[in-house]
Subunit: 330 residues, 2 copies
């Protein structure tokens, strides 16, 4: 894989290379705003005036990459797109308030599919107390969905990836590994265990968890979309710390154990590497009680900067790490 | 064409049918917010707290539908996507402050294309004093770009499509018909006149025109994306008025005259029906001086509600009206 960005294709550059390149370009912008609190690169950007700030994030979902219409109903795809995007503003400690939707559709798409997609999308937005603030439709070769999520927060209270301090407790709210296991089930042409497949189809989100974490003094927070360890690495790198987690603190659901056994897989590998559950992980000052719904699974350390240790061993040495979904692999 | 949305495809339903269906679904949402000033359906939604409001709009641009990589450079496509989206927040009278970008790309896309696209996108955002607040990338079968534009405005000052009153003066700021003519030139395999082709490739926008119009007491405003008459019809329907325009008030650029003559077309038809120039049209109380850059082209009348008259004749009777680009035609 080439890191030379002046020639070659995206298949050479890779997703992380492309994102780094784009963020570098954005960083070169000469426009400045006194009301910008947190710039692009975190879960969401934060901008505000007069004590109240808005939080902004966008995600894109492509047919065949993020979803398949034979694996999920239109309602489920609508719900998942809303949930995954709104999770980003929650992970800043913000209260979600609105979403904007842009959708590209082939002319052959059944009208009822679009109606069901919208029903699911609006239903999930409502679950998060969010208003659909706008949208656009376009013809397209395949189904592509872009969701912008917007939240509000008191200025200065947003929780970025960059505030974790040595000694902080790492807490998780929600399940990890369920969606990844559900995806493996679907990839094998199976439809059960239902609880795993459902976790892939529609993440089950606690939309007030982020606000609770922020009110409990969370020093950093992220929602798990790349995987528990991969997202904790984002916090570790952003905060200039190391993170140590203990697998004995993590409850492994029975369905994950049985399915992993049937597939000859390690359920803990799914929990540590599986993305798309959109559970929230946050760091909290020591000796403070974790907010409701959060379970302690580790702590922040001052060495191994940018790294995550699992049961005392560097994660990337201990587990056979799959790089997750590669958008531009050819 | 069937209007039955419970069966059939998007090719049957059409773009306007789909948008109406989606807006109806959004209208059924039970979530309400005291800070929502203007809901989905206008150029942009408006939401705010403590005297200051944010303005939100999203647009999607698909390869082969909105742009072709052999007709425009990556820089031009990046600039056009930014400009077209930011125009919507300007058309509410707001000051643009930020953009979010989601982009779907085939793995075979050249990395330098993406770099040039980003350079153009950021350059145009800077022209509008806007910060890139966030983004997402995804693999995709063809290039798809979604841009969310954000602006700010004092609460209560946003200019919607719904405030035009009989007697108001209709003013336009910017050119109309140039982009449509440029598109015809490119469709014929030609590359000149350059001024027309350039107008299609990158709209030339006055990003402060909307603020000037709002400060001059504009009663309604829109940016021309569907076509001058089609967008004035949006104002006429939204405001419950009729609109009368006089073609003798409209300056027809020389390149438009000569190209139309060469193509056997009527340059005024391009001016009246051509979209994508993103000029601003607004209505102003009578006897007030129009803001700088705006030229009077007509007035608001109390009959012919929802209709636009051109030189005293109902537009849709007088001109051979093309329905504009049809997204879902099969």
């Amino acid at each position: 894989m080439s890191s030379d960005s002046s020639s070659g294709t995206l298949a050479d550059l890779g997703e992380s290379g492309l994102v780094a390149k784009i963020l570098a370009r954005i960083g070169e912008s000469k426009v400045a705003s006194p009301s910008l609190e947190i710039a692009a690169g975190d879960d969401a950007a934060v901008m505000g005036t007069s004590g109240s700030s808005f939080v902004f994030s966008v995600d894109m979902y492509a047919e065949g990459k993020h979803f398949r219409t034979d694996w999920s109903t239109a309602i489920e795809i609508g719900r998942r797109c809303a949930a995954g995007s709104i999770a980003d503003v929650c992970a800043m400690g913000a209260t979600p308030v609105g979403v904007l939707l842009a959708i590209g559709l082939p002319a052959v798409t059944a009208s009822h599919w679009v109606g069901e997609f919208m029903a699911g999308f609006i239903q999930e937005a409502e679950n998060a107390e969010s208003i659909v603030l706008g949208g656009d439709v376009s013809g397209c070769d395949s189904i592509v969905i872009s969701v912008t999520a917007i939240g509000t927060i008191d200025s200065g209270n947003a929780v970025s990836r960059c505030g974790a301090r040595a000694g902080d407790i790492v807490g998780i709210c929600g399940r990890s590994g369920m969606a990844a296991a559900g995806l493996r089930v679907l990839q094998r042409g199976l439809r059960s265990p239902r609880v795993l497949v459902d976790a892939f189809r529609v993440p089950e989100l606690d939309y007030t968890a982020g606000v609770r974490a922020a009110m409990s003094g969370a020093t950093s927070m992220i929602d798990i979309s790349d995987g528990l360890v991969a997202d904790l690495e984002h916090i570790a790198r952003g905060s200039g710390v190391g993170i140590e987690i203990e697998t004995k603190s993590i409850v492994v659901p029975a369905e994950l154990v049985s399915t992993a056994a049937a597939f000859g897989a390690d359920p803990m590998a799914w929990i540590l590497a599986g993305g798309d559950d959109h559970a929230f992980v946050a760091t909290f000052p020591p000796k403070k009680r974790l907010p409701a719904g959060f379970v302690a699974i580790g702590r922040v350390i001052q060495d191994s900067i940018g790294e995550v240790l699992v049961d005392g061993v560097l994660y990337r040495d201990a587990y056979e790490v799959s790089p997750g979904f590669q958008h531009f692999s050819s």
